[in-house]
C-alpha cells in the first residue's frame, strides 16, 4: 500500500510540473507577441521626433499546442495519481483536503480540455491553468501527514454515496472554474477588444454552457448530500454551514441563469455574476477551514 501512495505522490509531482509548463505555454500563446515599431517624424521646426508604438500579434501557435499537450500530460499524471491513491485506500480519494484537491485538479484539467476541444479555443487555458497551478501549490503546502492514507471515520463510511456526492461536487466546481475563466476573458475582450482572443459572444456562451453543466451537478451534490445525511444523521437537511454554503452558491448561479434566460442579461453583467459565483465556490470549497458543524473534517481542523 505504501508504494502505491508514494507512486501516487510522484505522479502528482509530475502532474504539477506539467501544469506549470502548460501554464507558461498558454501564457505565451495568449498574450501574443509585442512588436515595438519606431518611427522618426520630422517637425515643422526642422527637428525630428522619435515615436514608438507597440503592436500586438497573436502568440505562437506552437506554444498553444505545447500547452495543450502538457495539459493532457497533466491530466494523465493527475489521473494516475488519483487511481493509485484509490487503489491504496480502496475508496475514492475524498477523505481530506489533500485527496479532494488532487481529484479537483485532475477533473479541472479534464473539463477544461473538453471545453478547449469543443470550442476550439486555447486562450481559456491561461486562466484555468492558473487556478490549477494555484491548487497544486495549495496541495504542496498541506502538511505531509495528509499524504498518508488514513482509514475513514465512521461518519464517512458510505463508499457509494461518498463517491457520487463528492465526485459531483468536484465536477461542479471544475465547470464553475471554467465559467469563471470565460468571464475574466470576456471582460478583457469587451474592454480591450483584443483581436486574437475568442469573440466576446463565444466567451459569453462558454460561461453559460459551463454553468448549465455545473448548476445541475451542484443540485445533485445538495440532493445526494441530503440522501446521505438522511442515512447517517437522520435528517436530510440540518442547516449545516457547509450545506448552506453550497446552497448559497447554487442560489447565486440560479440568479445568473434567471437573469440571463428570463431577464435577457448578457455580457458584462452576467460576467460579473459569474465572478461572484466563483467567489462563492471558493468560499464553499475552503469552508472546512472555518465552518463548524458536521462537515468539520477533511484533515484541516
Amino acid at each position: 500500500m505504501e508504494s502505491l501512495v508514494k507512486l501516487s505522490f510522484y505522479c502528482f509531482a509530475a502532474g504539477s510540473i506539467a501544469v506549470a509548463a502548460s501554464w507558461v505555454s498558454y501564457v505565451l500563446f495568449t498574450i501574443g507577441r509585442v512588436r515595438l515599431r519606431q518611427a522618426e517624424l520630422q517637425t515643422s521646426a526642422g527637428t525630428t521626433v522619435r515615436a514608438s508604438k507597440a503592436e500586438f500579434a497573436p502568440g505562437w501557435t506552437s506554444a498553444g499546442r505545447f500547452g495543450s499537450m502538457m495539459a493532457w500530460f497533466g491530466v494523465v499524471m493527475m489521473g494516475l495519481s488519483v487511481i493509485f491513491r484509490t487503489a491504496a485506500s480502496h475508496r475514492g480519494p475524498y477523505s481530506n483536503m489533500y485527496e479532494f484537491s488532487l481529484a479537483f485538479v485532475f477533473v479541472l484539467l479534464l473539463i477544461y480540455l473538453l471545453f478547449e476541444r469543443f470550442y476550439e479555443v486555447k486562450q481559456l487555458g491561461v486562466i484555468v491553468l492558473t487556478i490549477a497551478g494555484a491548487m497544486c501549490l495549495y496541495i504542496w503546502s498541506l502538511p505531509s501527514y495528509m499524504r498518508e492514507v488514513d482509514a475513514l471515520n465512521p461518519a464517512l463510511q458510505n463508499r457509494p454515496l461518498m463517491t457520487v456526492h463528492v465526485s459531483s461536487a468536484i465536477l461542479a466546481y471544475a465547470t464553475f472554474a471554467v465559467s469563471f475563466a470565460a468571464a475574466i476573458l470576456y471582460l478583457i475582450q469587451v474592454r480591450k477588444n483584443v483581436s486574437w482572443l475568442p469573440s466576446a459572444d463565444m466567451l459569453d456562451d462558454i460561461g453559460y454552457r459551463a454553468v448549465t453543466v455545473g448548476f445541475p451537478l451542484l443540485a445533485l451534490v445538495l440532493i445526494l448530500g441530503s440522501v446521505w445525511a438522511h442515512e447517517a444523521w437522520g435528517a436530510y437537511w440540518s442547516w449545516d454551514p457547509k450545506e448552506t454554503a453550497a446552497l448559497f452558491t447554487w442560489l447565486v448561479y440560479g440568479v445568473y441563469l434567471h437573469t440571463r434566460t428570463l431577464r435577457g442579461w448578457r455580457g458584462e453583467r452576467s460576467a460579473y455574476v459569474l465572478l461572484f459565483g466563483f467567489a462563492a465556490v471558493v468560499f464553499t470549497y475552503y469552508g472546512n477551514y472555518f465552518f463548524g458543524g458536521m462537515h468539520a473534517y477533511g484533515g484541516v481542523n
Binding site: 465512521p154 440532493i223 440522501v227 440568479v255 434567471h258 428570463l262
Partner: protein, 494 residues
C-alpha cells in the same frame, strides 16, 4: 381607436380586480423573483457565516463591528420569520409565474406563430439566403427535408406569393421548467410534512440490556443487546455498532445491527447510530425490600457542578419522591485535576440522593460505592451492579421523505432536460426568385446573443450547401444594428 378601447376596459375594472391584477403581476415579475432569490441567498449566507468563526475574525479586526457580530450569532436565521416569509413568497411566485408561463409555452409547442417578416430576417444578427432553381413550394419541400434530417419540426403557411416557414427542435424540453419549479415547492412541502407529521429524537439513549420506549404513539420499544466500538491502531474509531431488538406492544418485531450510515427501520421509524457513552447498572430497593429501580443510568448526559468533566447522570425515583444523581470517575488526564474534588478511584461511583419531603424541604445524602457493593442512603438501598455502556441514537419518522426523493428526481430531470436539449428555432420566408423563376430562400435562427444556437444554424446551412449543392450567403450584422425588437416580439408569447 385602440387607445380608447384600452381606456374603456380599464375603467370597467373593479378595484378588487385591479388589486388582484397587481398582485398577480408582482408574483409573475422575473425582476421580483430575482430580488427574492437574492434576499434568500443573503439570508442563507448570513446563516452560513453564523455557523463559522469568520464574523468573529471581523470583530477581532474591527472592534466596532462586535455588536453587529454578536447580533448575528444570536440570530437563528434559519428558523427566523424573514426566512420563512421569503420562502413563502418564493413559493407563491413559483406557482403564479409557472401558471402564467403555461399558455405561452404550450402555444410554442403545439401552435407556434409561423408568420414572420422579411425585415426581421434581413436584420437578424445571423441570417442565410440562397437562390433555388425549384419553385417556392418545391424549395420548401427540399428545405423541410433537410431540416427534418436534423430533427427539426417544420411548419409553413402560404402568405400571398411567399411561404413562411417555422422550424424548431427540442420543443418539449421547454416543459422541463415545470418539473424543476414543482420540485422546489415539493422540497419545501416535504419539509413541512416531515415537521408536521413526523418526529425526531436527537438523543435517544439506551443502556446495554435496557429497553426504552420510542413514544410518539408508535407503540415501539428498543432494547440494546450490546454496544461494540472498534478502534484502529492509530487511535481512529473504525466502527460503532449497536445490536438492537425492536418491540411493538410487547412483541419482538425486528432485530438487527446499526452502525453510522447503516440505520434500521420499522413501521417508518428509523434508528440511527449517533454516539455512545458510559452507563452504570443499579438495583435500588426501599428498606422493606420493594424494588424501586433495576436498570442502567447513562452517564455523560449531565455535568456535575463540582467536576464538570466527570460523566454524570440522574434517575428519578417517583415512588419515594427522590432523585438519584450519579457521578463517575473523570478518566481524562487532560482535564483540570484541581476541579476534581471527588477523587474517585477506578470503577467507583459517587451517589447523591435528593429526597424531597412533603413540606418541600430537600434532604441530600451522599456516598461512594464500588462495583458489586450496596450502600444505604436514607430509606433506600442502592446496589451498584456493574459498569455498562449505552448507545446514543437518533430516532426519526419523516413522512416527507418520499416527497423529497420525488422532488429530487424532478429537479435534476427538469434541469437536465432544460439545459441539455435547448429549444432551437429557425424562421424563414421562401418567395419567388427575382426573375420570377425558381425561388429565393431567406432564413434566420432565433438566436440573438446565443453563440451555440448560431453555431447550430451554421452547421445546418453547411449541410444544406453540401447536400443540395447550392451556394448559401451568410449575413452577419453587428448586434447593435441587428433587429432585437422583432425577435423579442416573436419570443414574447413564450
Amino acid at each position: 381607436m385602440a387607445q380608447a378601447t384600452v381606456d374603456t376596459r380599464g375603467s370597467r375594472r373593479s378595484p378588487l380586480e385591479m388589486v388582484v391584477d397587481r398582485i398577480w403581476r408582482f408574483f409573475c415579475s422575473v425582476r421580483a423573483a430575482v430580488v427574492e432569490i437574492i434576499i434568500l441567498a443573503v439570508l442563507v449566507l448570513l446563516g452560513t457565516l453564523r455557523g463559522s468563526d469568520a464574523p468573529q475574525w471581523l470583530a477581532d479586526a474591527i472592534p466596532a463591528t462586535q455588536p453587529a457580530v454578536d447580533w448575528l450569532y444570536d440570530w437563528d436565521v434559519f428558523h427566523s420569520l424573514p426566512l420563512m416569509l421569503i420562502l413563502g413568497v418564493l413559493c407563491v411566485a413559483i406557482v403564479v409565474c409557472t401558471l402564467n408561463r403555461v399558455p405561452g409555452i404550450w402555444k410554442t409547442i403545439v401552435d407556434p406563430t409561423i408568420r414572420t417578416n422579411r425585415s426581421f430576417l434581413e436584420n437578424a444578427e445571423l441570417s442565410a439566403a440562397y437562390q433555388s432553381a425549384a419553385a417556392p413550394a418545391a424549395a420548401v419541400g427540399e428545405l423541410s427535408e433537410s431540416l427534418q434530417k436534423h430533427r427539426y419540426r417544420v411548419l409553413h403557411e402560404e402568405r400571398g406569393a411567399d411561404i413562411h416557414l417555422y422550424a424548431d427542435k427540442n420543443r418539449y424540453a421547454k416543459l422541463g421548467t415545470f418539473p424543476f419549479h414543482l420540485a422546489l415547492i415539493l422540497i419545501l412541502l416535504g419539509g413541512i410534512v416531515g415537521a408536521r407529521y413526523g418526529f425526531r429524537e436527537m438523543t435517544f439513549v439506551v443502556p446495554e440490556g435496557s429497553v426504552r420506549e420510542v413514544g410518539h404513539g408508535t407503540g415501539l420499544s428498543v432494547e440494546l443487546i450490546q454496544f461494540i466500538d472498534s478502534w484502529r491502531e492509530e487511535g481512529i474509531p473504525s466502527e460503532y455498532r449497536s445490536d438492537l431488538v425492536i418491540w411493538k406492544n410487547g412483541e419482538k418485531v425486528k432485530e438487527g445491527t446499526i452502525t453510522v450510515n447503516n440505520p434500521i427501520s420499522y413501521d417508518n421509524v428509523t434508528f440511527y447510530q449517533s454516539s455512545y457513552g458510559q452507563a452504570a447498572a443499579f438495583r435500588i430497593t426501599d428498606t422493606d425490600g420493594n424494588l424501586l429501580f433495576d436498570d442502567s443510568i447513562p452517564l455523560g448526559q449531565y455535568t456535575a457542578v463540582n467536576n464538570p468533566d466527570a460523566p454524570a447522570g440522574l434517575q428519578q425515583l417517583p415512588q419515594i419522591g427522590s432523585q438519584l444523581n450519579v457521578i463517575g470517575q473523570d478518566q481524562d488526564p487532560q482535564n483540570a485535576p484541581e476541579l476534581d474534588d471527588l477523587q474517585l478511584e477506578n470503577g467507583q461511583m459517587f451517589l447523591q440522593l435528593r429526597q424531597t419531603a412533603d413540606d418541600g424541604s430537600v434532604e441530600i445524602l451522599t456516598g461512594v460505592v464500588d462495583p458489586g457493593e450496596t450502600i444505604q442512603l436514607g430509606s433506600v438501598n442502592i446496589e451498584y451492579l456493574r459498569e455498562k455502556r449505552f448507545t446514543l441514537m437518533q430516532v426519526a419518522s419523516n413522512p416527507g421523505i418520499p416527497i423529497f426523493f420525488a422532488a429530487s428526481f424532478l429537479l435534476v430531470a427538469g434541469l437536465a432536460v432544460t439545459f441539455y436539449f435547448p429549444h432551437r428555432r429557425i424562421r424563414g420566408i421562401i418567395g419567388p426568385g427575382s426573375d420570377q423563376t425558381g425561388s429565393r430562400v431567406l432564413m434566420a435562427p432565433l438566436a440573438r446573443w446565443d453563440w451555440s444556437g448560431q453555431r447550430d444554424f451554421r452547421r445546418i446551412i453547411e449541410r444544406i450547401e453540401t447536400e443540395s449543392r447550392i451556394a448559401v450567403t451568410i449575413n452577419e450584422r453587428p448586434r447593435e444594428h441587428a433587429a432585437s425588437r422583432s425577435e423579442s416580439a416573436a419570443d414574447a408569447s413564450e
